[in-house]
């Protein structure tokens, strides 16, 4: 890395070298049995330079040819973006525990056993189902150095465990399942099995839905795919700067329900969305986004923060290219209503667990729409069966302005989101 930095320094004013490497071992189950084991090694090095006040950027998977990397970066700098920020100098980073050496030590035998246990528990409850499962362990290492003396790095362990269950009767298909991830090994299957069996149990019958506006409880997975996806671009400092976010000029204003509080929190110990620094060596922090309904902050990387005349919130993340503002882990504060009480309070409504087609459409405007892939009908305070051939649509700025209830059942969905169930009244439902 130092060699690349030194070479770059010869031709550019400033430079930054970013390197990630990962090792991952997925153990996969198909059709109720072990099917394959993989080992994936990968590495990537990225060079960002500032030359004549412009950004140059190149990446490679191999460290063999540092000169080519420098040349590529120089080539792009000729027509590059004007730089308005400085690379960070040496910083103090928050302490957040995200590495557990025990993950690497989990044997293939143990991983296989966990997968088999998941499948055997679920098929014991329902012998007709077909399960796919996955148990994955991995390590992720990041290092950054720049010519202003800034440097950062961390090592993260990741463990994942999940199951997808298919039940086919005639031409009727049902999909249920659950997934957990952590920086610790997950050595018990109880919770996933419990959730999966509960879903199978509730989906025994198909209930009839009539097209009309009704109360909808978004279970944590449903909150993620329907209500939260549109918030990601809305809080992105870039979208805000362009005036394309519906909340661009609403900082400090009450835009959402008074009971809604959301923050970006990358500092939760052993959560897979946690980390001490972002992808440009800026310390990570907890950033409140919505505080009791009031828009309280947006997310920034270095370049966007400079343009917006503010500070980076440590949200510069790279998805293969230059850093861009992106949340690490959205955390929605729990309410005080139990899920069961939420259900009891509804006369005619549905529960949305999984939405098919989420994220297609005018997300930026806050619209969401989708087919209820997994959901349940509520009649007179009781769950009466599964919902099919049903679509829901809405706009999150309208729905989240007036929330009927927030659950006390917060759960992590895939490491990047912790949310309770959220109940909204008058959601548009169309069914055939």
């Amino acid at each position: 890395m130092e060699e690349i930095l030194a070479l770059a320094k010869k031709v550019a004013e400033e430079a930054e070298v970013y390197m990630v490497s990962s090792e991952e071992t997925p153990v996969q189950f198909e059709s109720n049995r072990l099917k394959n084991i993989q080992y994936k090694q990968s590495q990537s090095v990225a060079l960002r330079i500032i030359k004549n006040g412009k950004t140059g950027y190149a990446t490679a998977t191999s460290m063999d040819n540092p000169q080519k990397l420098v040349d590529d970066a120089v080539a792009t700098a000729e027509s590059g973006t004007k730089v308005e920020f400085q690379f960070p100098s040496a910083k103090i980073f928050p302490k957040v525990d995200i590495f557990d050496a025990a993950v690497e030590k989990v044997s293939l035998e143990k991983m296989t056993e966990l997968g088999e246990e998941l499948i055997s528990q679920v098929t014991k409850y329902s012998p007709e189902v077909i399960c796919e499962g996955g148990v994955t362990k991995g390590t992720y290492t990041l290092n950054i150095i720049n010519t202003r003396g800034g440097q950062a790095g961390f090592r993260q362990s990741v463990f994942g465990l999940g199951i997808e269950v298919q039940r086919i009767r005639g031409t009727d298909m049902l999909f249920v399942g659950d997934h957990q991830s952590s920086c610790h090994p997950i050595l018990t299957t109880d919770e996933i099995v419990k959730t999966t069996i509960r879903q199978l149990e509730l989906a025994k019958n198909i209930a009839k839905v009539t097209s009309k506006p009704m109360s909808v409880i978004f279970a944590p997975d449903g909150v993620t795919s329907s209500l939260v996806l549109p918030l990601i671009p809305a809080f992105n400092g870039k979208t805000v700067l362009e005036g394309a976010s519906p909340i661009s000029n609403k900082l400090g204003e009450m835009v959402f329900d008074i009971n809604l509080t959301i923050s970006d929190n990358p500092l939760v110990p052993y959560n897979t969305g946690s980390r001490p620094c972002d992808d440009e060596a800026v310390p990570c922090q907890v950033t409140p986004l919505i505080t009791k309904g009031v828009v309280s902050n947006f997310l920034y990387d270095l370049q966007t923060a400079a343009r917006a005349k503010t500070k980076s919130t440590g949200n510069g993340q790279r998805q293969g290219g230059l850093p861009s503002p992106s949340p690490h882990a959205f955390v929605i504060t729990s309410g005080n209503v139990s899920f069961d009480d939420m259900v009891k309070s509804i006369d005619d409504g549905i529960i949305v667990e999984q939405l098919l087609g989420a994220g297609q459409g005018n997300m930026l405007g806050g619209d969401f729409s989708g087919n209820v892939l997994l959901g349940f009908k509520i009649e007179k305070g009781e769950i009466v069966g599964r919902v099919k051939d049903t679509m829901i649509s809405g706009n999150i700025y309208q729905l989240l302005k007036n929330i009927a209830a927030i659950g006390n059942d917060a759960k992590w969905v895939g490491g990047f989101m912790s949310t309770p169930s959220i109940c909204c009244a008058n959601v548009s439902v169309a069914s055939r």
């Binding site: 027509s79 086919i168 679509m391």
Partner: protein, 458 residues
């Protein structure tokens, strides 16, 4: 940098020495460059070089797979893949045995994107951005351009050694209009294989896109429910991909007795006018190739002929297990993933209706053009339009906001009652499956009419 051909020959020797029922390797080197704009400002320009490979082994029905960037220590990598497969395998391997093929397929590049200077590409994007911003009411824009040049080597212990090369170009433009806290967006995706030229002439399309985004601000929202829907060739292409294409991928079916029963050849899925084909051998489309990632030559597969299920897409494993012929549909997005069953160029065969015939007897319906996205869970699927109009008394009427449509494969295909004569292939899409995104595919159709299609809305 190590010469890929030489590494390939070393691997070929190593593979022959392994004790596995089947073993193959892939090597790949690629160059990628991208340019993006946000609003009037250039967002980024970058160049990426990538080298890597993998080894995949089959022992007693169990698979092992090792992927790497580091080309050192190949012997250990090969041994690890075999060891993993042996750990998994407890049955008998079933894998279609194909004759070894040695081939070198060079890309027939018309205008090589890799040879066009970055400054020239940037100039073109500046023009496109200008086309968006010349429309009043635009709040911001988004342009993403990428081109890649890729060389892959496939080899197996049976002696196959296939080198293939391809160039891909993609562009995505989004115009965002905003007024009083209401935000609307319109987008366009275009792609091309081995040829930069189609990317050069999008000025008019992009200008229209910007006008559309502004017009959407004042367009009403459709009420949700069932409608008679007419789809343009682009959206109908997305429809055929989501509604039926994925269900024809045999890896969903081959070890699933219930799905096998549902997908029995000869089963009626649609009316006699419905024909659906997947063909990687159609020349020069985004989903075209000579050999798939298991070295099987590309074919043309009738998935549905006259409304009946007549074929499905296979890898060598699914073909062997279902005792059918391989179709050359095993594809991997890159060396980090094993090949899985994927579509290539999927389309509805043109019929005889003209567009006018199709809408003339619709009293009240919806005309959907362009696409935003699509997703399937096999039985249920969704797809969303980029542009939507009402149809009233046989005529296209006012614009409404884009909609999401949803269906059920077992009755929506049956509800197609008119197929147009104007096939058009959409090159702007990509496909995601099993964490492998986004694979170059194309899909297409003539205009089609669907009765009782579920549309989401207010």
């Amino acid at each position: 940098m190590a010469d890929l051909q030489i590494v390939g020959q070393q691997l070929a020797e190593l593979l022959k020495r392994q004790n596995a029922d089947y073993i193959e390797a892939h090597l790949e080197e690629s160059q990628y460059s991208s340019i993006s704009y946000r609003g009037k400002q250039l967002e980024s320009i970058s160049k990426t070089t990538s080298v890597g490979g993998n080894v995949r082994a089959l022992v007693k029905g169990g698979w092992g797979f090792v992927s790497f960037n580091d080309l050192n220590g190949l012997e250990e990598k090969v041994a690890l893949a075999v060891k993993q497969a042996r750990f998994v395998g407890k049955e008998t391997s079933q894998f279609y045995e194909s004759k070894p093929i040695v081939a070198n397929v060079e890309a027939k590049i018309k205008e090589n994107p890799a040879l066009i200077p970055l400054s020239e590409k940037k100039q073109l994007l500046d023009e496109y951005n200008e086309a968006i911003w010349s429309t009043s009411g635009i709040q911001t824009s988004n342009l993403g351009y990428g081109d890649s040049h890729k060389k892959t080597i496939f080899l197996n212990a049976g002696g196959s050694f296939i080198t293939q090369e391809r160039a891909d170009v993609t562009i995505r433009a989004v115009a965002v209009a905003a007024k009083d806290g209401d935000v609307q967006q319109a987008g366009l995706s275009e792609g091309s294989r081995d040829d930069f030229r189609p990317i050069r002439k999008l000025h008019k399309d992009i200008q229209q896109l910007a006008q559309r985004a502004v017009k959407m601000l004042t367009a009403p929202t459709l009420k949700g429910g069932e409608y008679t829907v007419v789809l343009d060739p682009i959206l109908a292409g997305v429809f055929v991909h989501e509604a039926f294409g994925h269900l024809s991928e045999s890896d969903f079916v081959y070890e699933n007795a219930q799905l096998k029963e549902i997908m029995t050849l000869g089963k009626v899925f649609g009316g006699p006018q419905l024909n659906i084909i997947d063909s990687a051998s159609r020349q020069r489309l985004r989903g075209s190739f000579e050999y798939d990632d298991e070295g099987t030559p590309s074919t043309k597969t009738y998935l549905i002929r006259e409304g009946k299920l007549t074929g499905r897409l296979h890898s060598l494993e699914t073909a062997a297990k279902m005792r059918e012929k391989p179709t050359g549909n095993a594809r991997a997005i890159n060396y980090r993933h094993p090949p899985i069953v994927r579509m290539t160029n999927t389309y509805i065969v043109p019929g005889e209706s003209s567009f006018e015939d199709m809408i003339t007897d619709i009293k009240e319906g919806v005309y959907c053009k362009n696409w935003y996205g699509g997703q399937t869970s096999m039985e249920m699927f969704t797809f969303s339009s980029g542009e939507t109009f009402r149809i009233r008394n046989g005529k296209i009427a006012e614009m409404v906001r884009p909609v999401m449509l949803s269906g059920n494969v077992f009755n929506t295909l049956m509800n197609i009652d008119a197929i147009g004569d104007d096939l058009n292939m959409n090159q702007g899409g990509g496909c995601s499956k099993g964490g492998q995104s986004s694979l170059p595919v194309s899909n297409g159709s003539p205009h089609i009419r669907i009765q009782k299609c579920l549309v989401g809305g207010k």
